[in-house]
Each structure stands twice: as C-alpha cells, then as structure tokens.
C-alpha cells in the first residue's frame, strides 16, 4: 500500500483567472498554424489582383472607354474600381473560410476536448477566439481595402482619372469593404460552431454569404426586407456609386451600416454561446 507522505501544492494558490490569458492563448494558437499566414497572404493577393485587374483593364483599353478623365470620375468609375463586386465576393469567401476553419480546426481534430478540459469556461474560450479572429480580420480587411484603393488609383493616375481618399464616398467604400472581412469571418465562426465539420461548415458559410443573396431580388416588399438584411446586399448599398438608381424600396446608408453591425453581433453571440452545453 502506498503511504501518503507528501502532498502536491494545494490548489488554493491558483492565480485569478483572467480573460487576457485566454486572448494570449488564442493568439498563440491562431498564429502557430502555418496555414494562417499563408491563407491571409493568399486571400489578400487574390482580392488585390481582382481590383488591380479591373483598373488595369480601364487603363489599357482607355480608348475604348472613350471618356474624358473628368467624365470617368464624374461617373464614379474610380470608386467602382476601388473595390469591385468580384473582389468583394472573393474577400467574403476567403474571410469566411478563415473564420470557419479557426473553429472547425479545433472541433474536427478533437482538440476542443483538450481545450475545454483545460479551460472549462467554454464561453470565455470562444469569446477569446472570436475577439482574436475579429481583430486580425479587421486589420486584414483594412490593409487589403486600403492597398486596393492605393493600387487602383495609382493605375488610374496613368490616365489622370484617379481620385483621392477625400473624394465623396471614397472613404466609405474602403471602410465598408474592409469590414467585409471580419463580418464574413464571424459568420464563418458561427457556422463552424454549429456545424463543426470543416468542409460542410465552409460550404454552409459560402451559401449563407454568397448564394442566398444571389437568389433574392428586392423588387417585392418582403424579399426586399430579406435582401436588405443580408451583408452582401448591405455592402453593395454602401459601395454604390453616386449615380446608382435606387430600387423600388430604397434604403439608407445608416440602414446598411446597421445590418453590418447587427449581423456581426449576432454571429459573434452565436459563436460564443452555442457551445455552452453541447457534448464535445
């Protein structure tokens, strides 16, 4: 029979639990995967290329455009080129995938059990994860949107058709496009917590963010309400160039910003709260 001679340190000496330790842990986990920097870099380059490509097209085929620089600017073309619809779609897909994998990478491997056994406060873990994800993806979006604006206007300056960030609406387009990244990443994270399997969750995120908006039109009152509640539609509203004709059910910029905020908040709440009682 083993004789009890010594005892381990009493657990009373445990230091107070701090949220910032979880933030630091999640930060470490986020960057210790090789796929993180590569995913961000690839996503950034693809989005940048989509925007630069459109501007380069305008620069190259300027004669076919057949416009004077003044007319080009007055039509809002430099703003439309600043962040194209294709770039917005690509940005959302890339960010949604990164956000989804940040969650499902933990569930699909079984790591989540190790994590929750180490930190039983599940909501704190997920709040830390969501905070790190939001911070990184906001910075990512800001860098990509600002770089896109700079590159696009530099290309257009070859035809003296560029605008500055001070041009009416320019800053709004850059900010709204930058925020697409955290918005899509949070949506991906919420879907990831619910679905858990990587491939299925990425697919579901893309369906929610991209496929559903394509299937809806805003010609009817009900469908307009649904459409206007979707982030892709809200982004289109925010980056709409000055002469875009309003539909039957016009909506304000403030309304579109509200959709951005509400959608992000709802996704964050789902991602944090959904894991509380489910078996892992």
């Amino acid at each position: 029979m083993t004789v009890v001679t010594t005892a381990p340190a009493p657990t009373a000496t445990e230091p107070r639990a701090r949220f910032r330790d979880l933030l630091a842990a999640e930060w470490l986990k986020f960057w210790s995967l090789r796929s993180t920097p590569w995913g961000l870099l690839t996503g950034a380059l693809v989005v940048l290329a989509a925007n630069a490509g459109q501007a380069w097209d305008h620069w190259r085929y300027w004669r076919q455009v057949g416009e004077s620089p003044a007319r080009f600017i007055a039509d809002g073309m430099p703003l439309q080129d600043a962040f194209t619809t294709n770039a917005g779609i690509l940005m959302m897909i890339a960010a949604a995938a990164i956000g989804t994998l940040a969650i499902t990478g933990e569930y699909s491997t079984g790591l989540i059990r190790t994590t929750f056994a180490a930190v039983p406060a599940r909501r704190s873990v997920l709040a830390a994860k969501v905070t790190v994800l939001t911070a990184v993806m906001t910075l990512f979006g800001a860098v990509v949107a600002a770089a896109s604006f700079g590159v696009v206007q530099t290309i257009l300056s070859g035809r003296h058709a560029e605008v500055t960030i001070g041009y009416p609406g320019a800053l709004r387009i850059v900010v709204a496009s930058a925020l697409l990244a955290p918005l899509a990443a949070l949506t991906g994270a919420a879907v990831g917590v619910a679905v858990r399997h990587s491939a299925a969750a990425v697919a579901a995120s893309i369906v929610i963010l991209q496929a559903i908006p394509l299937l809806i039109h805003d010609g009817g009152h009900t469908s307009a309400i649904v459409a206007h509640a979707l982030p892709f539609w809200a982004w289109n509203r925010l980056v709409a160039i000055p002469f875009d004709t309003p539909g039957r059910y016009p909506w304000t910029l403030a309304g579109a910003w509200t959709v951005f905020a509400a959608w992000a908040a709802a996704a964050a709440i789902i991602a944090i709260a959904a894991a509380r009682w489910r078996d892992v």
Binding site: V4, T5, D279
Partner: protein
C-alpha cells in the same frame, strides 16, 4: 481491502453518484456510483464499449450526464474557470491539432491557465519530448502523442490526474516509465485514475480497481481482493465480466 486508503485529502476525491449517460437510445453508462481516492493508482477496467471513455468525459464536464452527477474536489469540474491546476487529463492522444508544434500546443494550454512558460520545458523534459518541441505534431508517432498528452496533463501540477488508455502505442521503455510515473504521482498524494484494457500492466501499476461492463459497475475493490483465487488479474477480469453480463463478442448491444 481491510482498511481502505486513509482519506488524507478528501478534497481530492472523485465521486460518481448514480451517473447515467444516454446517447439517443444507447445507454453508455448507467447508475455508476463509485469513489476514487487520493494516494493510489486506481485502475478503471472494462471491455471495449463498456463506457470508460464516456465516464472520463463526464468527469471533465465535456459531456453532460443524463442523470446523476460526478464531482472532483466536491464540485462539478465545469465549475472551475480554469482546469489545469485542478485536474490533468489525457483522454485521447489524437485530441491535438497536427499543424502545431508540440511546444506551441503546450504553450497555448499553459498561457490560458496562467501557468509560467518555463513549465512547458519542464514537462517536455519529464516526458522525453524535449528534442521534439519544435516539430509539428502531425509527424509524431502514437507513442510520442501519448507522451505529449501526458505532458499536457502534468502542466498544472494537478492533484487529480485522469488517463484514458495511456499505454497505447508506447514502447516497453515508455510503459516502464509510465508505470513509475503513475506510482510516483500517487505516492505524492495525488489521485491517479487510469483506464486500460491491458490487464498485465494494470496488475503492476494499480492498487485499486473499478471495473465496469456495459456501462454498469461490476467491481470496486482493492487489487488483491479481486485477484484472490485467480492466477492473474486477467483471469479474474474474465471471470468477473463473463459472469455478469451479455456483452460478450457477438452479443447484443
């Protein structure tokens, strides 16, 4: 046993009280009541599918019991905001992300529990993984993953340790090492709870046994009492489990 272990540290006791867990129509464990005391290595035995892993997950609050309760330290584990200083656990060596290095994996666990970074190096040394710290876990053998899981369990220097089949994939040297490790941890007054199906190994390591079959408790006894009258623990185990239920291979589940 005559005169069980003295309860020097009743606060380190694991207590399961009519613990029941059903997944849909499948009952994984039913009405499990037992106590695991400190200062011993307690073996947790049962055939495949007996509910050992489920019981361990319930202990750690990873799964929620359908009925009953299990407490560690007199409270459900999930009441702790941070776990590593209370309970160290190795449930499945595969519960890691292969893309991370061993060092990063442990560093993140330590950081979240406010455990000094220096402790990572200590547990890597203690488990013989110091040279593998910068390698990605994807390239680890099962034995190395087991060592990594044990390193994680030791991070918080906890008074209670849970291990689910920790010997899988370990070489003879590793098995010998782990035997000494468990006995040492118990000798320090810790509660050490080890599930295994390797009877000969348990015979050398555990001094108390909890045996379950088909989710029900079959025995909760000192090693000596269970093996009395049998040639080996394996024989005693076969006799006990065969006589008790109908979960034998080919039986209904």
């Amino acid at each position: 046993m005559s005169g069980g272990p003295r309860r020097r540290h009743p606060d380190r006791v694991i207590e399961a009280n009519e613990l029941t867990k059903r997944y849909g129509r499948t009952t994984a464990v039913q009405d499990l009541t037992f106590t695991v005391r400190p200062g011993h290595v307690t073996g947790f035995l049962g055939p495949n599918g007996a509910g050992k892993s489920t019981t361990l997950r319930l202990m750690l609050g990873l799964n929620t019991p359908t009925a009953g309760a299990v407490t560690i330290d007199g409270r459900p584990f999930r009441d702790h905001r941070r776990g590593l200083r209370h309970v160290g656990a190795l449930l499945d060596a595969g519960d890691v992300h292969g893309g991370r290095t061993a060092g990063a994996h442990l560093a993140a666990l330590a950081r979240g529990n406010r455990i000094p970074r220096s402790r990572v190096g200590e547990v890597l040394d203690a488990t013989g993984l110091a040279d593998a710290a910068r390698r990605r876990i994807r390239g680890f053998s099962l034995g190395m993953r087991q060592r990594l899981g044990i390193a994680a369990a030791l991070l918080g220097d906890p008074p209670v340790l849970l291990f689910d089949e920790p010997l899988n994939g370990l070489d003879p040297e590793g098995v010998k090492w782990i035997r000494g490790l468990f006995r040492g941890l118990a000798a320090e007054g810790r509660t050490v709870f080890v599930s295994s199906h390797l009877m000969s190994e348990m015979e050398h390591t555990a001094d108390h046994l909890i045996v379950i079959g088909r989710g029900r408790l079959l025995a909760d006894t000192a090693m000596a009492d269970l093996t009395a009258g049998h040639a080996s623990l394996e024989d005693a185990f076969m006799a006990l489990t065969a006589a008790s239920t109908d979960y034998i291979a080919g039986g209904n589940r």
